[in-house]
């Protein structure tokens, strides 16, 4: 249940997870007095429930055959406290501290460019457009660290079909939310805001490309790109734009933020590729987040381990030239 009147939200859906987990621990050790106090807290919450779908709200999800198996998930704590979201500060811990003011409701996504007709989608309409799936993906940053993330969303192609792009649409551009009064940390870098990213149409239509609304079965925390973002698991993380407010269909390659800033370091494609070094560091290995320092190093896989599914998109392309 996402949006609803206070009365139809079950209390289990509105109590933040850490609180009810703590509560269980507490209950195990505490006697009846504790239980009484707890009951009082629960009653108090019924009178002051969380409105709307803020972080921590459970999402109804279904299983997906496209999920990645055999990986240890990165903890929710690390996923939400190790973020690159430069609008909220350039240090990894900054977005968790600063992104609280991001107004995720109401929220709309504007669609224009090479489409049958421009449209605007409300976030609640997007959430209902297709069943939400649990999809675990490896996430590899161009900075050579990696995570394993249990995302919630559906294939971007489902959304694109609703946008009704024209046959002349060859690329799709994603623009992130930008308001310097909310994102007061944009001066920390010399980026031309808003953040812009893009994909070739066939990449965007690939079933692995995910329009993402959640994390660990719950609504995305702000610092992870709430309320809607894309996740492209075979590309470096910066290709997966956060907090999207506009989607544009274009007949030529859009200007994208990091590529524009340093084209020799960040290619438009930026597929994860251990054979193409970043000018400043090797991409052969990566540091897995949340592991002890002596156990972090892992071998980086071509297309981040999704080569079987996506390599055919790049048949005949020189991946060293189109890095």
């Amino acid at each position: 249940m996402l949006i609803g009147k206070p009365s139809d939200i079950p209390s289990s859906a509105i109590t933040p997870k850490d609180r009810y987990l703590n509560r269980r621990r507490f209950l195990r050790g505490a006697a009846a007095a504790g239980a009484v106090a707890l009951g009082a807290e629960r009653v108090a919450e019924l009178f002051e429930p969380r409105m709307g779908a803020s972080a921590g709200t459970k999402l109804d999800t279904v299983k997906s055959p496209l999920t990645t198996t055999g990986e240890q998930l990165t903890s929710l704590e690390d996923l939400t406290h190790y973020n690159n979201f430069y609008e909220f500060g350039v240090n990894k811990g900054d977005p968790a501290k600063n992104a609280g003011g991001l107004p995720t409701r109401p929220w709309t996504v504007k669609v224009d460019g090479k489409v049958k007709a421009p449209k605007t989608f409300d976030i609640d309409a997007l959430l209902k457009l297709h069943p939400l799936e649990d999809r675990v993906y490896r996430h590899r940053c161009v900075e050579a660290w990696s995570m394993v993330v249990p995302w919630v969303g559906y294939s971007l192609s489902e959304f694109i079909n609703q946008c009704e792009p024209l046959s002349s649409a060859k690329y799709v551009q994603f623009l992130s939310y930008y308001d310097k009064h909310v994102e007061k940390w944009t001066y920390e870098s010399s980026i031309a805001w808003p953040y812009s990213e893009g994909l070739r149409m066939d990449e965007a239509m690939h079933p692995l490309a995910l329009l993402t609304f959640g994390l660990y079965g719950e609504v995305l925390p702000n610092q992870n790109g709430a309320p809607v973002r894309v996740v492209v698991p075979w590309k470096y993380g910066f290709k997966s734009a956060k907090s999207i407010v506009a989607v544009r269909f274009l007949d030529k390659e859009p200007t994208t933020t990091w590529n524009d800033l340093a084209p020799n370091e960040y290619g438009f494609y930026s597929n994860v590729n251990p054979n193409v070094d970043h000018p400043r560091w090797s991409q052969k290995t990566e540091r897995r987040i949340g592991q002890p320092f002596y156990a972090q190093r892992k071998t980086t896989l071509l297309f981040n381990g999704y080569a079987d599914q996506v390599a055919s998109l790049y048949n005949g392309m020189n991946l060293k030239k189109y890095f």
Partner: protein, 210 residues
Amino acid sequence: MMKRSTFLLLKTLTWLACLWPLGRLVWGAVTNNLGPDPTARITFATGSTTLNLLTITLAITPVRRLSPRLNWLIKFRRLLGLFAFFYASLHLLTYIALYAGFDVNSMAADIAKRRFITAGVAAWLLLLPLAATSTNWAIRKLGGKRWNRLHKLVYLAAVCAVIHYWWQVKPGVLTPLTITVILAILLLARPAWVLWSNWARSRKVARSAV
């Protein structure tokens, strides 16, 4: 002149302050509490402590010139400089162990190909002879004048260290700016002082000639 007990207290506090960043890392490693990316934490902590200590070391001479009463600061310079070298070495060791995995070929390739690593290694190599000649024996052996000339390399080491920092961060990221401005002021204070004292001397000479 400062009382001996005050001096000993200040010396102890300096040691503790210099060991503090390392202590925090060791404590974090032992308790498995170095944050989501321990390798990056260790790298950044050792690197930024090196730069901070280098900056404090380079501040001693300009600050002493402000007043003769601050002359005692010179007694802390060697200690701070050696700690800067100590953290620079830990920083280098972090790279060798946790990034290059002790693989000599990959280190050679990195030094040749990646300019931020080249600059960092250059800064460490420039500090090495300074640390090696930090003993009283070495000062006597070299003679004050030659020793002084050799230790001017610290300026070059500081410049290399700051360039290393700028080349390491993403283009567009401005975090190294603060330390760069402070170091630039400290380095420019030196020629400024020479110019000013020359000018003051020539005025004095001119006045006494009249």
